[in-house]
Symmetry: C2
Subunit: 491 residues, 2 copies
């Protein structure tokens, strides 16, 4: 892998990629989805072998991956994401004549996506970051995750072939492998944006590299989240399936999900035995790789050794003779005071099937706890009963201030790919508070360009009067009245 | 000025500010505009004394400042900037049931604006950054520019009083003075975004401070631009007012504008004498302050001492007995090869009334020159004649790739405040490629929050079914067909 060749190919593809018409680009995205689907029975066994994730889970993930490629195809054709704004020239403004100004969002150029280990399809080579960057009109380089190299190569070959067959420009899609290549590309001036899903340590390091470039670029990192869940006293009494739902969410995919609920706030006195019982019924699950397995063992040991921690389910973490790691859920309980006192030991994300139940005294303390202990998360959840809206309002406000998504009931895992999804949040949930799931993810790879007094034939299609792409055009400024004015004077 | 008190007040105001209804917030913005207007005759003389800018220019700037406050009032009431998306629950998706998900953009929290020296109204205390942040629903702290301290204090007092009278929360608007306070606030965890307009050196330093915080924040800096203008051979022959227009744009406000055309590309053989003549007719103009004056003198000396530079107008740069700096326009000419060879001496922005005329041989070389020499600019301009659209297309593409705004005819100074304006561009024009002028500037201070299965009474108003604020709501995902699916499974 020669960084220079890869970066040069991506840079050469930038102009041609941006020029591909929406229907052609949409067709290419659908072609990638179709290619993935037809290769699913070949790819999924590789994914199982390399990640230890289950066939069921990977089949669902594959469908999500293909579904979001098709969703972005529809976004591309719809064109609302281009935010086309047309302000006609107007000589009648009170302050002075105004030129014709039209603004559209255009692709930023080559995008570098660092793949995640825990979603070998949906957050990897052909995942949401690639789909949204391709949809935006950007060439994509994926830095493969070392946890599933064979799958990454097989997927990349398939994606690249489908794009070529769909007449996308050479260099539209490339794979890079190895840390050196990743950092080398991240510092290459031709790369214009980067995405990352992974650990706080690695993400922070890469974000700082991106910020220190001679020409810095946006680095969209998703670095960690513990996704607290709050159960009101009424809900604790009324809901019969809390323990089962919680343990399912904590232990699915061995807890190796960015939206795993790491903390469950339960009123003091609520029965916790059932949680332990459900946890003990969960069978052993392989961990993604040695790095994750060893990291989980260390975090779990720290939590278990913290004074004031009560064990609800001891769980296990072990390495077999082949070097693979396995785990069953570990669930502990603490009171809020212990959590405050031992925040260093307890608050960091534990990537794996471990969760902390926190006993609280009064509903009124929860908003403050959320703000104090969980300033940046992907998701926050409240289980309440009808009639409690007034009492939980401060907690909801605290969650909205500190999380990308606020759930009422249910569990934070199982992120829907829809136009309204937000998968981001204040740092460290995200380095830049954008979303990496749902159609708004495309905005990460767009920048505004205004055209002033341009002749029709030199305007990009979304800004032309005849609107050949049929995109939504917002005509006229928000304020055309004489209540405000615009200037074309000497400043 | 106690940083702790200021940051605490801003943080306390964040929730109440976000909760102010659109009509109330719009009324407050209009009240600030009215207060500025009624104080104009008192403020403008202070501005003249502190900045050396002319009365005419400052009157126009005052009208723009008030106009953009009113424009943002209309944006707030319109509500399109909230990008409200409502995806109804749907059990009929091919892959599985989907929850109700609704997403809206919410204010990021306290914003710190570093004021500029060159627009004491429009990019200072009550300028576009403050207007757009207040419109977004964020408390604002302005770090005063030391170039106009008395004006900053007078304006801030007036703005704060108008906001209080309009019932905005305590702490909505504050002024901070001094570099130590600015850096102290920039590193304070309660500040959630910052803006800056100024030099590459200072902006880069502050951007790195923002990126190195324990919790990094977006730093929207506008750090410099040279705004090249390209004249085709036909336009050079056809346009009779090129020299006058160019010199007006270069010398207005003593060239101390971010959109001043620093480079003018003219075909070899075109007459340049008239440019020199116009330049020599411009009367001396005071520079903003000693820092700018001394910096201009140094840059001018470097340019004049560069081998291969021909002087079209020598101009002047001098300091009087009171320490004030004055200048008349300096215009030089080079050929493209000299520009390439001496890029270190010639390419940096020269903040003041200096411009470089570049002689080129063929229209076909211009796109390459733009990409090679000017990778990040606020504006790029082309003067061409009808019928040249085909020939200039590569240059237009190069300008769109490297500038925030592409002009056809005219001059880059005189930025209209409209919904379609883009005042940003690739680095170093902007640290993050957003716009600081026009209504899209509001998006810098917003972040997405999704609500999943929320009861109506706990949804923010823009997401409610009864839509009490009457904002545009985008209902249903882009893809509701069975061509794609969404997941609420185990991942």
């Amino acid at each position: 892998m020669d960084i220079e060749t890869v970066a040069a190919a991506a840079a050469s593809a930038a102009g041609p990629c941006a020029a591909v018409s929406p229907p052609e680009r949409a067709t290419a995205l659908v072609a990638v989805a179709a290619a993935l689907e037809s290769a699913a029975s070949r790819l999924i066994p590789i994914a199982i072998a390399e990640t230890g994730l289950s066939k069921d889970r990977l089949e669902v993930e594959m469908r999500r991956t293909c579904g979001q490629l098709r969703l972005f195809a529809e976004v591309v054709v719809d064109g609302a994401h281009l935010d086309a704004r047309l302000d006609a020239a107007d000589g009648a403004y009170v302050i002075g004549a105004r030129p014709d100004v039209r603004r559209v969002l255009v692709p930023v150029g080559p995008v570098l996506n660092f793949a995640a280990s825990n979603f070998p399809f949906a957050f990897s080579v052909a995942g949401g970051d690639s789909a949204s960057a391709l949809a935006a009109g950007c060439p994509v380089i994926v830095k493969a995750h070392p946890g599933h190299p064979e799958l990454s190569r097989a997927t990349a070959e398939l994606v690249a072939r489908a794009l070529v067959a769909a007449d996308m420009p050479d260099g539209t899609f490339q794979l890079a492998e190895g840390e050196e290549a990743g950092v080398g590309l991240l510092t290459d001036d031709r790369i214009r944006a980067a995405t990352f899903t992974g650990s706080l340590r690695a993400g922070r390091m890469l974000a700082e590299i991106a910020a220190a470039r001679p020409r810095p670029i946006p680095f969209f990192g998703e670095l960690g989240s513990v996704n607290p869940v709050y159960i009101t006293p009424s809900a604790a009494r009324a809901e019969t399936d809390l323990a089962a739902g919680f343990i399912d969410s904590v232990s699915g995919s061995a807890g190796q999900l960015c939206t795993k609920p790491g903390f469950l706030f339960m009123p003091r006195g609520a029965e916790l035995d059932e949680i332990g019982e459900h946890a003990r019924r969960v069978t052993e699950h392989r961990m993604l790789n040695g790095h994750v397995g060893a990291g989980y063992m260390a975090r779990r040991s720290t939590v278990l050794a913290t004074p004031g921690v009560t064990v609800l389910a001891q769980g296990s973490s072990r390495q077999d003779a082949d070097g693979e790691w396995y785990a069953t859920p570990t669930i502990v309980a603490v009171d809020a005071e212990t959590l405050r006192k031992h925040r260093r030991e307890l608050l960091d994300e534990c990537f794996g099937p471990l969760a902390v139940v926190v006993r609280y005294d009064a509903l009124t303390e929860l908003a403050g706890l959320q703000r104090e202990l969980f300033p940046g998360n992907l998701a926050g959840t409240v289980h309440a009963t009808r009639g409690e809206s007034g009492e939980i309002q401060p907690l909801i406000a605290a969650l909205a201030d500190t999380c990308g998504r606020v759930l009422f009931g249910g569990w934070p895992t199982g992120v829907s790919v829809t136009s309204a999804m937000q998968h981001g949040g204040p740092f460290p949930a995200a380095t830049i508070d954008a979303t990496s799931v749902g159609t708004a993810a495309i905005t990460r790879f767009l920048r505004g360009v205004a055209y002033q007094n341009a002749p029709q034939e030199l305007l990009p299609p979304p800004l032309r009067d005849d609107n050949p792409w049929g995109v939504p055009q917002r005509r006229g400024p928000v304020g055309t009245s004489s209540r405000w004015g615009t200037l074309t004077g000497s400043i």
